[in-house]
């Protein structure tokens, strides 16, 4: 009996060590400058730097996990990782399945880009990434929506003529348009679609949400969040007040 109790305590104790919080953060790794895989094969980008800083402030031990965009929400709710930081805009539809912290990127514009200035974004073919707020928006306009699994494929579709225009987060398109030597041009006005980008969490994970919320709030307060946005998105990017 004594050995049994000892063994039970030992198991309980080690189990206690095992649960010393490691927070696994899931990201897509294909959405520069938000998140990407750098040349060393590691997750990099604005969200990597921000996430590491948030974990430091919340005193969490964090690791990064790559996951396809398509299955990023299902894998969160089934517990493969504990948080999503993948440029995921806060919107109602997603809030039915997961919960978000307060935003760590202010509400930002979505924009159309195309190979020629007279591309028809209202009645033509528009490319967008599957399961994004942009894809839902295009579906509501008169345009024909073609969806792709990765943001890069939406751009490739425009370049090879499969689609007339691409509709995506403006901050994602900016470097591509600027570096295309005038090949890609903006079409029309920017469109405001979302409430900003937040950390996605399981609805039952309120404790983690509070920790992240507090860390984000403290970064907003001391201005370090705006500094980081300026570093990764350039001067023109929208900042927090």
């Amino acid at each position: 009996m004594k050995t049994l109790t000892l063994a039970a305590t030992a198991i309980l104790l080690t189990a206690g060590f095992a649960s010393a919080q490691t927070v696994r953060i899931g990201t897509e790794g294909a959405y520069p400058p938000y998140n990407m895989i750098n040349d060393a094969g590691e997750v990099d980008g604005y969200e990597r730097e921000l996430g590491d800083e948030l974990c430091k402030r919340a005193e969490l031990d964090c690791t990064w996990v790559k996951n396809d965009w398509d299955s990023i929400i299902p894998n969160l709710v089934s517990g493969n990782y504990d948080a999503i930081m993948a440029g995921m805009a806060i919107n109602e539809e997603r809030q039915k399945v997961i919960q978000f912290t307060q935003n760590y990127v202010p509400p930002q514009a979505s924009a159309y880009a195309a190979m020629s200035a007279d591309a028809d974004v209202e009645g033509g073919v528009v490319a967008a990434q599957t399961g994004t707020i942009q894809a839902s928006h295009v579906a509501e306009t008169g345009a024909t929506l073609v969806e792709f699994a990765t943001p890069d494929e939406t751009l490739a579709a425009v370049r090879n003529g499969e689609a007339d225009a691409v509709f995506a987060d403006k901050e994602y398109l900016v470097p591509h348009v600027e570096e295309s030597n005038g090949e890609l041009v903006w079409i029309g006005e920017d469109i405001a679609l979302d409430e900003g980008i937040g950390v996605g969490l399981r609805q039952s994970d309120t404790e983690l949400k509070d920790k992240f919320d507090a860390a984000i709030a403290s970064m907003k307060e001391d201005g370090s969040l705006n500094e980081m946005i300026g570093k990764w998105f350039g001067e023109g990017a929208p900042l927090f007040e």
């Binding site: 490691t22 520069p32 040349d39 094969g41 980008g45 399945v97």
Partner: protein
Amino acid sequence: MFEFCADPASLEGMQWTMCYLTTGTHMLFYASFGTVLLLLAITAPVALLFGFGGAMASRSGFLPLRWFGKIYTSMVRGIPDIIFFLFVPLALDQAFEWTRHQFLCDSDAPVRQGNDFIVCAAAKLPLSNSAAWVHDVYGIFLAIIAFSIVFGAFAANVLYGAMQAVPRAQLETAEAYGMSQRQVTRRILIPQMWTYALPGLSNLWMILLKATPLLFLLGVEDIVYWARELGSSKTSAFAYPHPDWRLYYFLGILVFYLLMTWLSERVLGRVTRRLSAGQATMAGERQRKAGVA
């Protein structure tokens, strides 16, 4: 890798190419070929074992076992591979975690809470604080099980057919010598069936080879994942910016698979010749005549 790679922006031509092809991500790309080969090396024998079990079960004189064998082969063969590959790893993972939750957790909170599947930290598989490679290995392990179950069912059918194809006269002769049913199976049936099974099995091997890109669906970072990731256009946020190069990467993979097919055909041809020797089949007969002449 090379010393002159320290500042990628200043590189040109040959040096740029050499540095580009030796970045960390490219090394991971090359290593992923190993992942695919490893999957093949483990899956093929395991699937063959599953198939052997399935075939023996289908032939069994014990009715429930026969049902099990028949149901396994017809059910798995009837379900589209892709659905099976999406279903099995997910179901297995949740089954493992659920079981561990019952034993390792003292909380009585339900595992399913709304949309969420929650087990306590100790029941997680792998534990959330284990190293990244443990997670990778676990992912590959689940993939191997899914592949083995699917290809095992096909192999079971091939082996079952091959066992039926062994001439009845051969078995009868063995029985006449006084061998028991088990001895007949072990000494006569199994050694002779391989030559009948080989065409079907080599087909299966080729299909397995071609099915390996399904790994990508299971979230394992295989060659398809890296080809798409590396080939996608890179802005100056990366050290080596380039336009959309997926075409070239996929071309490389295509060549790899063609080479694998060519190699497999040569090896399988050799094995076929070897197994036909001394068999009462047309190929065996031809070999015998050639040997005599």
